[in-house]
């Protein structure tokens, strides 16, 4: 397995995965929507010019073309900002790709607050909810470079379509190469009996890691899970967490309605109703700002997470 610890940005991990897959599999093709330099797919174009197509600023057509290519036996990776990969092409991705049982990996970059200075118009909070409506679709939101690389490869191997929710700039190196990273299986980062925190995505997992330390100082022992795969949901682990702690806080860089929190709550409502709370976005649209401002503005900070976890315990 490739070691990604030398990569400087999440986009490098995304492109390393796609280029490595393309080296190994002739069916891998890549489609862009005029964001080649943003994701760094220029590297793919250079290496496989006959398998790279820039579709211009026409995302709906790009996803339709990807669907047609899939019907010809290719496995397209198509890229745009998350707002366009979800809201703008939803019907095309829903029908031409998924309803038609085609296989396309759609990359939606800059999820939620990660959109920073491009948000609010470019700040996708609702992509998780939208993508959760699509049967058999895989949704991943990796929290570090190594898991990003490995989960994209596993999504390809799964034979399903996927929505890859990922940041571009900067990178967290959380998992050394060799760590067991498995699609559909959350990773337990810390163990504790008082409360379980389920977090998704780089920003919220990073904040949650800090929150666990804050809680520790207060004598609260928290289990923390990196739920890198939103669909299919690791219900087995969720049930274990509910049984173990009886209190679950779900943290997501997205909207509450239809998000990971509701998915967890919906499952537990059926099998083991559990005391829960959520760190997510409610009735608010996105806005511009740098990451530290936005983390505070949307109450995503380690302090916010710790406060909610503490309230659950009390």
């Amino acid at each position: 397995m490739r070691d990604t610890s030398d990569l400087g940005n999440m986009k490098d991990a995304v492109m390393a995965a796609i280029i490595d897959l393309a080296e190994e599999h002739k069916d891998v093709v890549m489609l862009e929507a005029d964001l080649m330099t943003c994701l760094g797919s220029t590297g793919f174009k250079k290496k496989f010019p006959e398998r790279f197509y820039n579709c211009g600023i026409a995302e709906a057509n790009m996803v339709g073309v990807a669907a047609g290519l899939s019907s010809m036996g290719f496995v397209p990776f198509a890229d745009s900002f998350g707002v366009f990969s979800s809201r703008r092409v939803y019907d095309q991705f829903f029908l031409s790709v998924n309803y038609a049982k085609q296989r396309v990996h759609l990359i939606g970059t800059d999820p939620g607050v990660v959109a920073q200075v491009n948000g609010g118009t470019h700040m996708p909070f609702e992509d998780i909810a939208l993508m959760r409506q699509i049967p058999d679709l895989i949704i991943i939101d990796p929290s570090d470079g190594q898991s990003c690389y490995e989960l994209i490869r596993q999504a390809y191997e799964s034979g399903h379509s996927s929505y890859i929710r990922v940041g571009r700039r900067g990178i967290t190196h959380r998992y050394p190469v060799g760590t067991k990273i498995e699609l559909g299986k959350g990773i337990v980062l810390t163990e504790g009996d008082d409360v379980a925190i389920i977090a998704e995505g780089e920003t919220l997992v990073n904040e949650a890691v800090k929150a666990v330390e804050i809680l520790k100082e207060k004598g609260i022992k928290a289990t923390l899970v990196d739920m890198h795969t939103i669909k299919p949901l690791d219900t087995e682990l969720i049930e274990k967490l509910a049984k173990k702690t009886g209190r679950i806080l779900v943290c997501e860089n997205g909207r509450y309605a239809g998000g990971l929190g509701e998915a967890v709550a919906g499952h537990l409502a059926k099998v083991n109703p559990t005391k829960m709370d959520f760190v997510s976005v409610g009735e608010k649209f996105g806005e511009v700002g740098n990451l530290s401002y936005l983390i505070k503005a949307f109450n995503f900070s380690a302090e916010d997470i710790a406060a909610k976890a503490e309230a659950l315990v009390k």
């Binding site: 197509y53 290519l69 010809m72």
Partner: protein, 289 residues
Amino acid sequence: MVEFIHLRKETQMLDLQTLEMLEKKAKEIRISTINEIAHLGKGHIGGAMSIVEILTYLYYHEMNIDSSNPKKEGRDRFVCSKGHAGPAVYATLADKGYFPADWLLTLNKGGTNLPSHCDMTKTPGVDFTTGSLGQGASAAAGIALGQKIKGESSFTYLIVGDGESQEGQIWEMAEFASTHKLGNLIAFTDFNRMQLDGYTKDVINMDNIDTRWLGFNWHVQRINGHDFTQLDYAIQQAKLATDRPSMIICDTIKSWGYKPGVGVTANHSMAVSEEDAKVAIAALEGGCV
């Protein structure tokens, strides 16, 4: 400029025997289509009937396909982007032997393999799922691109509606296909001048459709879409234009061959009784459309 019908040296005229075969097949497909819809009692009769000659020509005289091997490698592909014309596609595929003819009477009934709109996961011989207008066009461009990447000499044939061409995705596809020089993509516009709410001119005007496609750098021809000799000529010419995709604007009449629907603004999807069907079929068999 739009290339109006004029014969070129390399064009072979359609021989009389083939022409008679195609006309006979078109009549049979029309009758099957009417029967499918009448058995259900209602359906998209108008837009199904207007594409019958295009379908007949492609399936009986043009495409490299094999109904005993619907997924044959290297075959030509067909996408009916106006997916609601499914009943005419199904009548054609059944006659070609892709599935038993008795499936036709299951159209749109629970558990059927023949849903209202074309579905590649259900119907043998359907190359792509359509129904949300505009989407089949992009899929066809993707298929044509895939054929090129694979180095195939095959073609992708696409039918879009004139009403459907109000969708922005059609024009996103148009610029993509010409930029990537998809000379193996041959499209038809079923220019029947009508849409669900009435005449296109009264909803969104689709005039100058030929110059619109010319503007997108397509090879453009305009023909009578119910005339096999014109279809024959236009497709041969389209295949010669290897450096760009082709659009053949087909002037057609919505519901052509099902008389009760001709000129009726509600003919997009209408009730078709067994009695109406009998009268229309008798007229077709008597040589009238």
